[in-house]
Symmetry: D2
Subunit: 271 residues, 4 copies
């Protein structure tokens, strides 16, 4: 594999990306929030909850890539504004997805981190556009992307001049139907050996089942990830998307306690 800019040898100490108070790549970092921004009240309430539990970054989708055109596609610009407001109230940096090259600059004005979703991993125009700005970006692995293809997509962004790329494994598509996807934690271990970029894991989309999120989060920590992105909703059964996989704030809090202890343990083990 040839990745001039993403290769570990290029920066053996690892990339560290400062966002608000958190140094991504250095400090273990939890991104949390609802799948979609549904209203100002909803996102502010969840922001307060996840902040209290210990999350470092707030997530929320305003522009949603949905399989069917008849599903809820997000609140768009209003969603961005509510999310920004929730970030300002809590002091949390915010991350949200970009699905259109034309939206990159607009969303960059609101968000602290941009997200490229699995379905757009190989939307090369979008990668190039994001590469032209310096905003941090979290790049999800495509559902059927090889590790090499994933790193090549990071390379597209780096090649345009934006060094602030975070990788995120979110499950690949296999024949198994019990989970929504098959979480590939060996890809995390491999990516940590091949590249200097921070590697996150999204256990919510990977499993699609909230009862598996905590276990897979802990497993992901030991695979070497630098952070987690977790879906949290105050009222999952009424969520407008991803009902089955969003955690309740109390369960998220428990997950954070365990994860925090395990990250400390991991540091000792590596000594």
């Amino acid at each position: 594999m040839e990745h001039k800019l993403a290769a570990l040898g290029r920066k053996p100490e690892g990339t560290c990306i400062q966002v608000g108070d958190v140094n991504i790549g250095k400090d273990f970092c939890i991104i949390a929030g609802p799948c979609s921004v549904e209203s100002e009240e909803q996102i502010v309430e969840i922001a307060i909850e996840v902040k209290r539990a210990g999350a470092a970054v707030l997530r929320g989708g305003a522009y949603k890539p949905r399989t069917s055109p008849y599903s809820f596609r997000g609140l768009g610009r209003a969603g961005l504004e509510y999310l920004r407001k929730a970030g300002d109230i809590t002091g949390l940096p915010i991350i949200t997805e970009v699905i259109d090259t034309r939206d990159v600059y607009l969303i960059s004005e609101y968000a602290d981190i941009l997200q490229v979703g699995a379905r757009n991993m190989q939307n090369f125009s979008l990668l190039v556009e994001i590469g032209k700005i310096r905003k941090p970006v979290l790049l999800k692995r495509g559902m059927n992307a090889t590790i090499e293809e994933w790193l090549n997509c990071a390379e597209y962004i780096l090649n345009e001049g934006n060094p602030n790329v975070i990788l995120c494994e979110r499950g690949v598509r296999t024949f198994e139907t019990y989970m929504r996807n098959t979480l590939d934690l060996s890809a995390v271990a491999v990516a940590k050996r091949l590249t200097h970029l921070p590697v996150f894991v999204d256990p919510s989309h990977a499993t699609g089942k909230r009862e598996l999120v905590e276990t897979m989060s802990l497993s992901a920590v030991m695979a070497g990830c630098d952070g987690l992105e977790i879906e949290v909703h105050s009222n999952p059964q009424n969520a407008l998307s991803d009902k089955e996989q969003q955690l309740l704030p109390k369960d998220f809090e428990m997950l954070l306690k365990k994860t925090g202890k395990l990250v400390e343990f991991r540091k000792q083990l590596e000594v």
Copy 2:
């Protein structure tokens, strides 16, 4: 599966899309040309060859989605102009890929059919933008897209008001590494039963090996496809992309003869 607009029941006689002299969906149609437009001379030469052999539409990539940022990414606007010129000289309608929402109008001025590639199948912003114009569009199935997801992407375009959607199966990604992808001809048979849209097959990308293109083209005809998209290059070993899968004009001509006879035979068999 619920596809209000794409469902066969909506239009049992099938969608027919007129492009130049060819009625796609009614007449069997061959789209052919090089992977990439490489120069004016190259595309004009190949256009003349594929026209002579019997192709109905000329293909050529000007904006290329490439796995690595360091690969040839196409000639861009110059490529469009050369392709248009080759189309005008031969009288062949032209098809070319769109990979950015911002290019939809520009490319529509040059091309007779737009193409959405496998990697952009779920670039929903692009689908919506293409849905707002009336230009015919060939929508490739994603490498790991279910048939349902593929039809949902067609639905996105139809839902915006553009009825001129052609589906194209081009192989899915499996564990098998001998071929570039695994051509899923049963998806063609299924799509023909579920939707009124024309269904094409691209055996070049599906197999990635020129020695398999003819056989899989004939097999695709019997699976019920309405046309084929085939890569042809006068000098494949020096092509800037897809060296292994582009046919020589003389082999393409042979393929067209056999395909033509088989399409006639298929009509008799169905009586």
Copy 3:
């Protein structure tokens, strides 16, 4: 790939296996019958039907590999006897599956062709045992077997001294859930280029849906297969296994007419 004995170069004229009146590999051959032998009456009735329609070999399972231990696992030895009787009444050679090394000799006394199912493709002990006798064997491709692994399994049998191996593609397992499996017809085209062994296709298990069997049979013919194995049942909705995919005799008859014409056409095309 290295397959000393299976390689096409070893026997460029192709392997021809005589079973009853049919020369498999030379004459196009249809194997048909129910998934399972359910009773003497059932198998005799179906044997007469498929014989009348033009099948050359009768199939029927006596020892059934079933996903759950609580499903019908076949009639065992009684099933063999009923199948043999149905073969004798109609004059059709019979094929049935072997799932245990200890049964190879017993089943060889009843059957004209042994079948190794997809789940046992890499049951190497079974392959070796079958290799020690000279009985023809139809070797199904595993659901996730590469073409190379499949040919290696044939090589196991050839290496023990049994040259009478027939390959059979029956669909691979992918992310697609609409069909039971994904029929890989390019594997047929590839196998015909790599080996001298006859290559069959089983569209019944590949699709799992009877409405797709005819189309995929015709498509398989053009992919170059030497024969088809098709499930037929006089009363599919009451079958003890594979209810959804078994054809009615009248539909099977129609399929055979079309297939026969297409095989003739294929011969002309190749001239």
Copy 4:
């Protein structure tokens, strides 16, 4: 899913299987040893090494399922004898693979635990035969088996009267080619929620790369597994099989130290 005997509800306290001094399912357990028994010296030397490092069970293949008939297929009965001797010298219980129904009784006389490999997971005759004895059995998940199919195979064994079944995840086959297989740790988390049987992980076959074995072992612990099966060889580069994935004894020792600490930590975390 319906698994009468394997279902967690049937035995919520979990199955505990005593082998030698270890209570599998209750005590965390490491199975280690070479891929193949190559000679008496080799297996005795490795047995001593893995015993010293802390392994509880010794593995070694005598009957090897190999993709090609021309690969080393194991020493057979001599291999069994050497393995037994190595077990006796070190006091370690031994596990070895069974690939033929006819060998079940013979191998049971030598081995303390039988192993059913991934390629034989759905060799139902073998499962039935093993079910008839009471010998503990480690059942590997097939490379493309769903969790449901895997549990159904355990059910086959339980249904014949053998309650001593250990499940083992060893990676599934996907499009990713960087690793030998894709380790599915979410399947471990799921299996622990669905069944009372102990669940192991084999990170050696799952990754096929020794540099990933430690990381994936630690990750597997947090996914909830009850033990690990790890390939260890004193001289991997000269091994007769699986050269790339066998650990050196010193690396295995380090892995065991870390794993041991992590298992202790896991207990505290669950309180």
